[in-house]
Amino acid sequence: MNRGPLLFLGLFAAMACSWTGFVLGPQLQLGGLAQTNTVVVGDALSQTYPLAEPGQARAGADVYRANGCAACHTQMVRPDDLGSDIRRGWGVRRSLAEDYLFQQPVMPGSQRIGPDLSNFGRRADFRGILLRLYDPRLIMGGSLMPPYRFLFETRKIGFFPSPDALVLPAKDAPAPGREVVPLPEARALAAYLLSLRQDGYLFEAPPPLSKTNALEGAAK
């Protein structure tokens, strides 16, 4: 331990081991993941999974990243024996490596101050998302989420009222003659959130063998 070169060599070896295991190894195993044809939960026809995000959702991912949404929201459903995520209805199965193939950047998050969003697109609707962004407490009474008013614009109603204007309860409504309209960022973010779904059956997460299988789901 008294020689500089020996110290460097030791450090190099220790770091190289760890790097090989945690950066190179996963790359070798998962670097070649590709889309597959499979059945999606609740659908009988096979389709390509995962699908690339549509254009507006791509832009919305940037809004999600820029505003640090991942500080409060995870996008990672744990297997049923490692948490209550699935029983809470946050997903139909655990998250798998394939689900993130087209995410850029991947933002799995580290803390849940808000609910997991892996499958938010399966349970939300466009208008509801916009209302939530404008004032979360309109939808969920005790929500801790801050309002994102800067994604909206209050403006004078033009010749025709905007079809996108938010329908707000009386106490939150803007002054008469004015309307609250989502800015393009809000629309993009909502499109991104709607695109979030991890519902393809894959090798590691096959359809359940019980009666509630994919075909039955489709019949409903």
């Binding site: 331990m1 008294n2 020689r3 500089g4 110290l7 460097f8 450090l11 220790a14 770091m15 081991c17 760890s18 945690f22 950066v23 996963p26 790359q27 195993q29 998962l30 670097g31 993941l33 999600y64 990243r65 820029a66 505003n67 640090g68 991942a70 500080a71 409060c72 990672m76 744990r78 024996d81 490692l82 948490g83 209550s84 029983r87 809470r88 655990r94 998250s95 798998l96 490596a97 689900d99 993130y100 193939l101 087209f102 995410q103 950047p105 991947v106 933002m107 799995p108 580290s110 803390q111 101050i113 808000g114 609910p115 005790g142 929500s143 801790l144 801050p146 994102y148 008013r149 800067f150």
Partner: protein, 448 residues
């Protein structure tokens, strides 16, 4: 080097102020939410970036440089280059934090700074790192003291993980989930190994030196060093992550095995100080360093516990993780760095320890200690409580979160303490600088 430390301390204030703002938001979610750049997600990311790149990394670098000079009995190689590096670093960090507030964050924890800033940071690091290596090369022949291993180790580690993050996450991003696994790995190495090495290196120097004893066992120190390098660098991936299970298992094994370095280091210091425990309270540097070590042991134990699948079922994704980071960053790392600064700064300025105002110093110690303790413990309680309630899917998520808010809000008090302590330190620091200037002027007048 002084620039590095002064910059670091100012940054800590900035980081803790942002942290305060962060916690305030939990008292009123709508507070300041109208401004995009003050929204929670951005402030939270900026706070971490300011701590890690404003305070953490430069003070770790400063410690490494100082220990290399001091223990090698060598003068700093290329002081001008180090100063340029330090200025460049601080500029890039300021730019990066501003970029995050403007919405330019990258979305990766610990590596939120946009690529352009990351390149400048890396260049600045290289300037300073090369000077450190040249200084190391100039050392007097003879044996290497453990602190020197730790100092060189921390420099080496930062270079590797930061370049990996720049290349694989930002410059040429990997596909899909690999980004997440690399980011988790880099994050773990940044804390456990890079900051851990820097802080422990300082502890290994100051505790035996100021007690006037020799280190109990060099072999045990070597054991701690190598096992921390090998096992500390594994892990950081949450159980249940969407990755093949061998990677997760390897991480859990590595994290659990960090118990070896923790025990090796703790017993080594215990044996060194045995019989003179009161001596540990005699000197401000010792007091800070020992408190830092205690926090290191607690934070490491918490990290090990949190990696076990039985525990992580409850604690993953709750305030538990935030508590661990708080204890590690503000408890261990910041306290250790302050301890070192109380020793180093007067000596760099040609003064002695009496230059510090003892009242401010005492105030800083208690504020820093209780700040980290209150924040850590309250977040810990919030995390465990939240985890236990969430395990039952019958409890509504929003209700559980609201109940966990009460202890989480107490952590605001801890943040306040940390801010106040840092202000006291900066006042004291300014006083010492003023004294050094006055002395310098007086000396110049006498000389005609």
């Amino acid at each position: 080097m002084l620039i590095l430390f002064a910059g670091a301390a100012t940054w800590l204030l900035a980081a803790s102020l942002l942290g305060l703002l962060d916690s305030l938001k939990f008292h009123a979610p709508a507070f300041l939410a109208g401004q995009a750049w003050l929204s929670y997600g951005r402030v939270d990311a900026a706070r971490h970036a300011a701590f890690l790149y404003g305070f953490g990394a430069p003070s770790a670098l400063g410690l490494a440089l100082w220990l290399t000079c001091r223990l090698g009995r060598a003068t700093l190689a290329g002081p001008g280059i180090v100063v340029i590096g330090a200025i460049l670093w601080n500029l890039a960090a300021a730019l990066g934090v501003a970029a995050i507030l403007c919405g330019g964050g990258t979305g990766f924890d610990y590596f939120e700074m946009p690529l352009s800033c990351a390149w400048i940071l890396f260049a600045a690091f290289l300037l300073m790192g090369v000077c450190a290596l040249l200084t190391f090369h100039r050392r007097e022949p003879g044996f290497l003291y453990p602190s020197q291993w730790f100092a060189i180790g921390s420099l080496f580690w930062f270079a590797w993980i930061f370049s990996t993050a720049c290349m694989v996450l930002l410059f040429a991003p990997e596909r899909g989930v690999l980004q997440a696994s690399t980011a988790w790995w880099c994050e773990r190495n940044f804390d456990t190994v890079f900051l851990g090495f820097a802080g422990l290196g300082s502890a290994f120097y100051f505790i035996p030196k100021l007690l006037g004893r020799s280190l109990h066992s060099h072999y045990q120190a070597a054991l701690g060093f190598w096992t921390l390098a090998v096992f500390g660098s594994w892990g950081g991936i949450p159980n249940g992550a969407p990755l093949p299970s061998w990677i997760i298992s390897l991480g859990v094994a590595g994290t659990v095995l960090t118990a070896v370095p923790v025990l090796a280091v703790a017993t080594n210091f215990y044996q060194t100080a045995r019989g003179d425990m009161n001596g540990l309270d005699a000197d401000p540097t010792l007091r800070f360093t020992c408190a830092g070590l205690m926090f290191w042991i607690i934070a490491s134990a918490q990290q090990i516990a949190g990696a076990l699948p039985g525990v992580s079922v409850i604690t993953d994704f709750t305030w538990f993780g935030a508590a661990q980071k708080e204890l590690f960053h503000y408890g261990f790392f910041a306290m250790t760095v302050f301890g070192a600064l109380y020793f180093i700064v007067p000596r760099l300025l040609g003064l002695d320890d009496s230059a510090w105002c003892p009242k401010l110093l005492k105030g800083h110690f208690f504020l820093a200690l209780f700040g980290a303790l209150i924040s850590g413990l309250s977040l810990w309680a919030a995390g465990v409580g939240q985890g236990i309630l969430l395990a039952n899917p019958g409890n509504s998520f929003t209700d559980v979160l609201r109940r966990a808010m009460l202890p989480a809000r107490v952590s605001l008090l801890g943040d306040l303490f940390v801010v106040a302590g840092t202000i006291l330190f900066l006042l004291n620091f300014a006083g010492v600088l003023a004294r050094a200037c006055r002395r310098g002027c007086a000396a110049r007048k006498e000389r005609p």
